[in-house]
């Protein structure tokens, strides 16, 4: 290496020397990061062309952030699944989430193309005792909501069953959003169990209870996933079309499109 003129002052050199020993990542943070990364597909350095995959997951990551920013603690699309994977009990014998794409695989379909990327913390005790516990954000949101929820006042993408009594729409407040989140959380955890029946039931309940709720986009994103897992691909595609129409800026769309495209 070309030598550089001048010596660093001893005081500065000592600071730099000290800084060479890295600080450890706090265990809880490390566990969360590893859990989030564990749901990503395996990639091949220098051979594959995962750029689009990366963009997709980058989008999904931003989706996760956006959702977190508005204090929802629950994301639609794969963002929700990444969050879910972070919170899943690590000691579960066969994680419901193997890869992002596998989540959209119908229950009876063959194994996924992607190898499961296991979390390094798989043997550690569960972060949460029950997957039904609501998602807990680790810290206060900082970034603005980027206007994503402006569209939340739109009509629900999937109308509730005719027999369901529609409650009067109230402006979503903190309490009602929490109530919405609770129902969607049930749907989300049902999806993690690969139980589309329970998931769809919870989603229909949300549609009946909150016809103009704040989390419609998230609900419909979950509905698409539930329909896909149930093997109802055509209905999932129809729901995807409605989501595209009503929430064209939804960051869950790229992942959902890609996931559905892989289901025969």
């Amino acid at each position: 290496m070309t030598p550089l003129p001048g010596e660093l002052p001893g005081e500065l050199q000592a600071l730099l020397d000290r800084e060479r020993s890295p600080l450890p990542i706090p265990d809880d943070a490390s566990e969360r990061i590893a859990g989030q990364l564990a749901v990503l597909p395996v990639v091949l350095p220098g051979l594959s062309s995962p750029a689009s995959l990366g963009r997709r997951f980058a989008l999904l990551f931003r989706h996760r952030l956006t959702v977190g920013l508005v204090g929802l603690g629950l994301g639609g699309g794969l963002g929700a699944r990444l969050e879910a994977a972070r919170l899943r009990p690590a000691a579960a014998p066969a994680p419901a989430v193997a890869s992002a794409r596998e989540l959209l695989r119908p229950v009876e379909s063959p194994p996924p193309l992607f190898v499961e990327a296991r979390s390094p913390v798989a043997a550690r005790p569960a972060i949460l005792p029950s997957p039904r516990q609501p998602a807990v954000r680790r810290r206060a949101p900082k970034r603005p909501p980027e206007g994503r929820l402006e569209a939340a006042a739109l009509a629900p993408a999937a109308p509730p069953p005719a027999a369901a009594p529609a409650r009067p729409a109230a402006p979503p407040g903190a309490d009602s959003v929490a109530a919405e989140r609770e129902i969607l959380e049930i749907a989300r955890t049902a999806l993690l169990r690969r139980d589309p029946v329970d998931a769809l039931e919870a989603l229909d309940r949300h549609a009946r209870s909150f016809p103009a709720g704040a989390l419609i986009e998230e609900r419909e994103s979950l509905r698409i996933q539930a329909l896909a897992v149930a093997g109802r691909r055509d209905e999932a595609l129809q729901a995807l079309g409605r989501l595209e129409t009503e929430f064209p800026g939804s960051l869950s769309l790229p992942g959902l499109r890609a996931g559905l495209a892989e289901i025969p």
Binding site: A14, L16, R20, I33, G46
Partner: protein, 183 residues
Amino acid sequence: MAPRATTSRNVAPPGKALTPDALYRAEGEYVWNSLRRLGVAAADLEDLTHEVFIVALGRLSSYDPARPLRPWLFGIAARVAGHHQRWWRRRREVGGELPELEDGGRPADEELADRQARALLVRALGQLKLERRSVLILHEIDGVAVPQIAEALGIPLNTAYSRLRLGRAELAVAVRRLARGER
């Protein structure tokens, strides 16, 4: 100073599958610390570390396994940190506050001196332009040779040397100023 040899772990040879968590296990701590040294606030380290790996995995096809991994990861971390800091700067312009640099979750008794020293360095680094800060961290802390830095950051070799030279001088001034209690 004589830089230490750059650690280049063979996380995944060409053609061999790389799991995202394997990459994180090998280099998570490095990325976390790089972001911290680049001035990312403790509260944002987790999210940005995750983001660096997401971006890295997306760009893995552009990574040459024959090259050291860490400078490549650092280049991504610097870009992610740069976006983040620009965002915070805009926030500050409209009335927001920059978050405190350096982490604060460790016990203050026996590690106080270590923590203060690290905080001083990170604050001093924070007074440098990100471009110079990046070169300085890579060379003086990570021990990466300047030609490798130039390659990893995509800058001409002379520019890398220039940034290092200016960065060293500025850092020395910044440390002295901070040590005297000035901002």
